[in-house]
Symmetry: C2
Subunit: 229 residues, 2 copies
């Protein structure tokens, strides 16, 4: 159906990526940030998607950090979605990395400016294949791992989210209408760190039985031309 094709091809057809900051308390602590009282929200452009197997291009002068995250693909348009109904707006999931230009982000924060550029470079959202909701028994108990050059750097579980997926959907939809094919990036567990050109990054998403739901891998390369920090 048309509906299935929009959500399965959310990378091409979706309009927005709504990302959540500091949604795991251990990660908030590692960056010396307070645990938030309401979700921290920012947007990434869909031009930042790159499919698994591709290259993340790091602009000159940028210190890039990985943040492995569960992505939630929205299945239908909604505004002011009640918590009790939020689950019905989920079409499926994806495994993603919210690449972040950490040195630029720190400067922007110090100047009280938007994070957009630090989060929005082309290729700064590596993304797995679409995972349909049917294959996920409990999205609140999935393990996320990220390895750099074979070494485990992040090993978290979605059960440690501060704001649950239904709570995020409820909250975001009081601010901005959610649409079919939108992606919510639900925040990263602890262990974030640098990726430099030449690094290979591999991520997995598994359920509580150990079944692998998705993998995501990419190579970091130096961006030629374009932005220079």
């Amino acid at each position: 159906s048309t509906r299935m094709s929009v959500v399965a091809s959310f990378v091409q057809q979706g309009k927005k990526i709504v990302a959540i900051g500091r949604n795991y308390s251990e990660h908030a602590k590692e960056l010396n940030n307070a645990v938030p009282k309401e979700p921290i929200i920012f947007l990434k452009p869909t031009t930042s998607y790159v499919a698994s197997g591709g290259n993340v291009e790091i602009p000159r002068g940028i210190l890039a950090h990985y943040e492995v995250e569960l992505g939630v693909v929205i299945g239908k348009r909604g505004r002011d979605i009640p918590l009790s109904d939020a689950e019905s707006y989920v079409a499926g999931y994806a495994l993603a990395v919210d690449m972040t230009a950490r040195n630029l982000q720190e400067e922007l924060k110090a100047k009280r400016l938007p994070w957009t550029v630090a989060k929005g470079f082309d290729t700064f959202t590596p993304i797995s294949s679409y995972i349909s909701k049917d294959s996920v028994a409990d999205a609140a108990n999935l393990s996320l791992t990220l390895r750099v050059n074979g070494a485990v750097k992040q090993d978290g579980n979605t059960k440690d989210m501060i704001f649950s997926i239904p709570k995020l959907i409820e909250h975001i939809s009081t601010i901005m209408t959610l649409e079919e094919g939108d992606l919510i990036l639900t925040g990263t567990p602890s262990g974030v760190g640098p990726v430099v050109p030449g690094d290979k990054v591999e991520c997995t998403l598994k359920d509580s039985t150990g079944k692998q739901l998705a993998t995501l891998d990419f190579a970091a390369v130096q961006r030629e031309g374009g932005y220079e920090y």
Copy 2:
């Protein structure tokens, strides 16, 4: 053609709104901000569009400010667009208001958090009809006015932009690919101020001969339900 329909219906079909902050020095000064050395960039979701004649819904507790701006509609996909070629990426224009939740924005800035929520509420980007490029002799010499309840509050000219439209296209495209139907909001001249429920806002865009290129009007209403500040 298909191409014409995407740009003419950028409100429905475009994927992103790339907004520029402090692009007129008088406005930077009125908010006690430094004049930026490179463009300040943030994203608004396309779900924030509302057509001229509609209502801007102000969430409870929000102090909303108007910012009248020239919007530039992108006509074709591009990355690392050279300054000399930037003009060919412009399909047309629109008159817009970048509604801003000023009290929330000030809090987010103080906490060094993204501006996204303060800029991204549904109906926070009132937008005129599409203006094709053919009807605009010189986009760098257009007058923008905004009236609240009949009183002129903003009366600026695009010749006072700090970063020109070609420069913005060049710069943004070094960060994120621009796509057909994307809108660039080019910043607001001085005179920003509050809009409260019950206010009527009217904006005009005119060229240097006085020819009216677009009008935009909306009513401010109290948002029922949804987000509360």
